[in-house]
Symmetry: C2
C-alpha cells in the first residue's frame, strides 16, 4: 500500500496533481486508513497509470472521468471504451507525426546556428533567419 507521496515518486507525478485527480474522481477505489490517509493498492496504481497515459496524450479530464465511469459500469460499456481507446490512439499518432515535423525544424535550425558559429558568419537573415527546410520566400 502506498501513500500519495509514494505514488507521486513511483509515477513521477506531483502530490498536488494526484490529489487534484483524486478529487476529479479518477481513483474511485482508493481506500482511506483509520487516519483518513489515502492508501493506494497495486491495483490503484494501474488506475494512476492509465490516467497518466490518457493525460499524456492530451485527453481532457472530463473525458478521462467518462472513461473511468464506463469502467465502473462494467461489461456493457466495453464497446464504448474500445472506441475511446481507438480515438485516443489516433490522436497520439497525429501528435507523434507533428512532433517529428517540429523536430525536423529544430534540427534544421540547430545546424543553421552551428554553421554560423563554426564559420564565424553573420546571421544574414537577422532579425529572423531562414527557419524552414523548404521555404525560400523573402
Amino acid at each position: 500500500m502506498y501513500t500519495i507521496k509514494d505514488v507521486a515518486e513511483k509515477m513521477e507525478l506531483s502530490e498536488h496533481t494526484l490529489r487534484f485527480w483524486a478529487k476529479s474522481g479518477f481513483f474511485p477505489f482508493v481506500k482511506r486508513n483509520a487516519n483518513n490517509i489515502r492508501m493506494f493498492s497495486e491495483n490503484d496504481l494501474e488506475w494512476v497509470k492509465i490516467v497518466k497515459c490518457l493525460r499524456a496524450v492530451g485527453t481532457e479530464n472530463k473525458a478521462i472521468k467518462r472513461y473511468i465511469d464506463l469502467c465502473i459500469v462494467g461489461d456493457s460499456t466495453i464497446a464504448e471504451r474500445y472506441s475511446i481507446i481507438q480515438e485516443t490512439k489516433a490522436r497520439a499518432l497525429k501528435q507523434q507525426e507533428e512532433l517529428t515535423k517540429q523536430l525536423a525544424m529544430l534540427e534544421y535550425k540547430e545546424n543553421f546556428y552551428k554553421n554560423l558559429i563554426k564559420n564565424n558568419l553573420k546571421d544574414t537573415w537577422n532579425p529572423m533567419n531562414k527557419p524552414t527546410l523548404e521555404d525560400e520566400a523573402v
Copy 2:
C-alpha cells in the same frame, strides 16, 4: 500579405491564439495597414512558424519571447539562440520517447478490448482491466 484570418487558416491556428501571441510580443515586425489591420508578410509567416514550433514542443511563452528578443538583438546572441534550440530539441526528443511509451500502452488496451469483443468475453478485471504490458500485480 495576409490578414489574421489568412494566417490562422494557413498555419492551422485560431485567430484568438494569433492575437494572443501578437500581444505577447511574438511578432514584432507585423505592420498595420491604414485601417489598423495587421498585415503579415511572408517573412512574418516564418516567425509564426517558429513560434508554433516552439509552442508545439511545450516551450513556455516567456521563453519564446526571450528567443524572439534575442533574434532582434542580432548576431551577438547567436550562441544563446543555438543553445536554446539545442535544449528545445532535447525536450522534444524526450516527448517523442514518452509518446511512444504511451502509444504502446494504448495499443495494448486496444488489443485487449478487441479481443474481449471478438470472443464475446467478460472483462474479468472489471472495474479495471489489466492495463500494462509487464505488470502482473494483484
